[in-house]
């Protein structure tokens, strides 16, 4: 494997993913089998392989190309890395004329490019919104990364998360004791602030299972506070589970077959054990997609509803169930970053706006927004330390979007976005004093009047 030179650290031990690593000399043969399987099963990818007209429309819509200026980061060029192999196996021209028509085997040189460029895609699907043929390069990237898993090439960062989830049920590796200690601390803090006893039940039988992001138990404290206050305010019979303290599901990014599926299975198993009627997902863009779009389809029918806390909050606001004082947020000019996976893949578009308008007086849209919003620059799980300089580059367009709003609170209801933006906006407080990055439930929590 050392023959492969990549920009990111790779892991050699893929446990718990049950694949036997492919010997370097068997890779080409294995690739062929994997492509056969893809051709039979993955319509969206086959459509992308067959159809690109090289019109170039997608180039200026990809923030990664805009930020790096590297032509290999044009969405169509990224997909071409897979198309070359597809042509070799499945088109008459490719079989006959080979490299003359750009067809080739997945040799070491191309494999290196695969790792480097499929791990420079944020899987944000923005290119798909603008492609006249509806080609979704994020789907191509996901498939390419899945093939890389079978060939034994996985970033260390992604593997470390898959291992943590397998062991503890969350990305950070928070054990039950720390989860309980943190909940007690949050309860104390809310009591100190409001004088109200808000409980965060852990591992209880309940009607609602709330699945936060484990980062809410480390950096995004106010998001968890907001969620706890919200459930208290609507009088919910709810619980969190120390066995699945994670809305995020990194398997969506690189390994649907095992990592994503086993996370979804865990969710189903625990929700059944706790006897809940509803699973409410916390602030995590891609986790929402994985839970909503892939849980019943991969794990079979489930005896509970799957919703998002922002949908729940919007519904409660529309029912008039929440007492909110938006003036509590008057120190803020808020703009909303639509997380790609929430807005382009699982339809969380108007709900955040309903919630924002009820909680803050100064809300300014950034442009473009909704399904045309630009990604934070860390989607697809590109949060590794070694990608920091790259993460700053690809996010220039985002800085311009936010700068134009004059906002001092960047609301990003997604844990990856929340982790990326301090990197992207390093030094921005000098331009905008008091600039803050936070979630949406944070703002709900500040505005909620509890009794």
């Amino acid at each position: 494997m050392s023959a492969i030179k990549t920009i990111i650290h790779l892991e050699t031990d893929l446990h718990p993913i049950p694949v036997t690593t492919t010997e370097p000399e068997k890779r080409v043969e294995r690739t062929k089998q994997l492509f056969e399987r893809m051709k039979n099963q993955c319509r969206a990818v086959v459509m992308a392989m067959e159809n690109c007209t090289k019109c170039g429309r997608c180039a200026k819509e990809c923030h990664v190309y805009l930020g790096t200026g590297d032509p290999d980061n044009i969405p169509a060029a990224r997909a071409d890395l897979m198309r070359a192999v597809y042509k070799k196996y499945f088109t008459a021209g490719g079989k006959l004329l080979g490299s003359f028509v750009g067809a080739r085997e997945l040799d070491d040189e191309l494999l290196e490019k695969w790792v480097n460029y499929f791990y420079q895609c944020n899987e944000c699907r923005r290119c798909a919104v603008f492609c006249p043929l509806g080609i979704d390069t994020a789907e191509v990237t996901i498939m390419a990364r899945q093939i890389l898993v079978y060939l034994g090439l996985v970033p260390k960062f992604h593997m470390s998360i898959a291992k943590q989830v397998d062991k503890t049920g969350n990305n950070m590796g928070i054990p039950k004791g720390a989860c309980i200690d943190s909940c007690e601390f949050i309860e104390d803090e809310i009591r100190e602030e409001t004088g109200v006893d808000v409980k965060i039940p852990v591992d209880q039988k309940a009607e609602i299972l709330y699945v936060p992001s484990s980062a809410d138990f480390f950096t995004n404290f106010d998001t968890m506070v907001g969620a706890a206050k919200f459930f208290h305010a609507i009088g919910a019979n709810w619980t969190i589970s120390s066995e699945i303290l994670e809305a995020g599901n990194f398997g969506l990014f690189f390994d649907h077959d095992f990592t994503m599926k086993s996370h979804n299975n865990r969710l189903v198993r625990i929700a059944k054990k706790l006897g809940v009627k509803k699973v409410v997902q916390g602030e995590c863009g891609h986790g929402w997609r994985a839970a909503r779009m892939y849980t019943p389809s991969l794990s079979g029918p489930v005896p509970f509803e799957i919703t998002h806390i922002i949908e729940e909050a919007a519904a409660a606001i529309q029912r008039g169930q929440l007492k909110l004082d938006p003036s509590k947020n008057d120190d803020k000019i808020v703009t909303l970053h639509d997380p790609c996976n929430a807005v382009r893949s699982s339809n969380l578009m108007e709900e955040p706006r309903i919630v924002l308008r009820a909680c803050v007086n100064n809300f300014v849209e950034m442009y473009p927004n909704r399904e045309k919003n630009f990604c934070c620059g860390s989607g697809g799980g590109i949060l590794m330390e070694e990608m920091i300089e790259w993460r700053k580059k690809v996010t220039q367009v985002k800085r311009d979007q936010v700068r134009a709003t004059g906002a001092n609170y960047l609301c990003a209801p997604c844990s990856i976005c929340k982790a990326q933006f301090p990197v992207a906006f390093e030094g921005y407080e000098k331009e905008v004093p008091g600039f803050k990055i936070g979630g949406l439930m944070d703002l709900v929590g500040y505005a909620l009047v509890l009794e």
């Binding site: 650290h9 260390k156 960062f157 470390s160 998360i161 943590q164 969350n170 990305n171 950070m172 590796g173 928070i174 054990p175 004791g177 720390a178 200690d181 943190s182 601390f185 803090e189 992001s213 484990s214 980062a215 138990f217 480390f218 950096t219 404290f221 995020g248 995590c284 949060l383 330390e385 070694e386 844990s415 990856i416 929340k418 982790a419």
Partner: protein, 106 residues
């Protein structure tokens, strides 16, 4: 894999420079790691207050505490923690305290 030698003991580090085996931590290791996280000069009493809090929490619970809990219990604001550890609580402070690198969406 990188490593440093502290008082004759080889300390293995991961690709981000965090200790692979947190059990080998001692104060001399913290001092040796300080320059890698932009902590210059001697470690002060304030540094040790943060390091020891993190260390003890980790030994008791097996993970870093919530950042808000760290600031509350040490009495330092987040800004003060950044003044002590320029690369932040999750990176500089955790590394010097010998914790594994916090992973996930951080």
């Amino acid at each position: 894999m990188a490593s440093i030698e502290v008082n004759g003991v080889v300390i293995e580090l991961d690709e981000d420079g965090f200790m692979v085996n947190p059990d080998l931590w001692n104060e001399a290791v913290a001092k040796a790691l300080a320059p890698t996280e932009e902590v210059t000069g001697e470690l002060t009493e304030d540094h040790w207050k943060v390091i020891n809090y993190l260390r003890n929490y980790y030994l008791q619970f097996g993970i870093a505490p919530m950042i808000r809990k760290l600031t509350k219990e040490t009495g330092f604001s987040l800004k003060e923690i950044y003044d002590l550890f320029p690369t932040g609580p999750a990176k500089g402070a955790c590394k010097l305290a010998g914790l594994p690198k916090p992973t996930g969406c951080v």
